[in-house]
């Protein structure tokens, strides 16, 4: 099978994730977009493992690691969103702009 199929799929997922990350204001949607980008990375890792085919299955193991990191990130991210919601009564990401000029 040609290697470009899964790689292009991953690139598509990543770009879509970038678009969502930049264009949506709902914080949970931003988290979802980040999940899409992470999924793209796992696809890449598994594909490169399939191309290289090493004995330690490095790509697959790292895909699992990325998944775990993603889960941790979602947990902490949602906790932060809850905190913002409690303090500002809003989950819009551009309302959390205390760092502005």
């Amino acid at each position: 099978m040609a290697a470009v199929y899964p790689l292009i799929f991953a690139a598509l997922l990543f770009s879509v994730g970038v678009y969502g990350l930049l264009s949506r204001r709902h914080a949970v949607l931003v988290l979802m977009s980040i999940e899409l980008m992470l999924a793209a990375v796992t696809v890449n890792l598994v594909t490169f493992w399939a191309i290289a085919g090493d004995a330690l299955l490095t790509g697959q193991v790292f895909a699992l690691f990325v998944m775990a990191i993603g889960a941790a990130e979602i947990g902490v991210g949602l906790a932060i969103i809850m905190l913002i919601y409690r303090n500002r009564a809003s989950v819009n990401i551009d309302d959390a702009d205390l760092m502005k000029y």
Binding site: L56, I74, L83
Partner: protein
């Protein structure tokens, strides 16, 4: 065109379409459900590539846990679950341009570097992955478990209601603005004050 390629194309098209719907859907809950489809498609790609265990882990972790967690987050923040309407201050053009540039760059890179590459598909049963994971990767694996514990504790600490923090603001159905009003004593993080736009300030200066 071989069977794996057809399956790969099909899952790719479905996954890509679902991903697009995730970021464009007006309803946040619909986005979460499209995310399920997109992540299942990713799992399908893993299966085609022979990474069986990773595929099932993807289904369990993402579809089973992460999306449920996201839905809980939506529920607990009592955020507008219906259509959210407008995008953010950036508009649509700039994100679209950046995303397209990223996509174009990646595709160009992939085609030039891996254009002729062919994958010899090989199925790795979960047992084989387990043997590698718990032997060669045992210590990184344990470290990862430690990281997850820390993230758990961190999430609890962050989301914990501190003493003196007000109760959740009750959205009043009669007054839509009530949801925007400040909680009783959120002094640690002051509400945004209405402030003059830069232009107004410039005029007054």
């Amino acid at each position: 065109m071989s069977v794996p390629e057809v399956v790969m194309l099909a899952t790719g098209v479905v996954g890509g379409a679902a991903a697009l719907l995730v970021v464009t859907s007006r309803n946040v809950v619909h986005s979460a459900l499209y995310l399920v489809v997109a992540l299942l498609a990713v799992a399908g790609v893993f299966l085609v590539l022979g990474a069986e265990f990773v595929a099932w882990a993807q289904v369990l972790v993402y579809v089973g846990a992460v999306v449920v967690l996201l839905l809980f987050g939506l529920m607990l923040t009592r955020a507008p679950i219906g259509p959210t309407g407008q995008g953010n201050e950036l508009g649509k053009a700039m994100p679209l341009a950046v995303a397209l540039a990223v996509f174009a760059g990646l595709v160009a890179l992939i085609v030039t570097s891996y254009g002729g590459e062919v994958i010899a598909l090989e199925h790795v049963p979960p047992a084989a992955l387990g043997e590698v994971l718990y032997v060669a990767w045992a210590l990184p694996f344990m470290t990862l478990g430690f990281l997850l514990t820390l993230a758990l504790i961190g999430a609890v600490v962050i989301a914990r209601r501190e003493e003196g923090e007000g109760p959740l603001p009750e959205p009043d159905p009669d007054e839509p603005e009530a949801a925007e009003a400040s909680p009783p004593d959120s002094s640690s993080w002051p509400q945004r004050q209405p402030e003059p736009t830069p232009d107004e300030r410039e005029v007054s200066a």
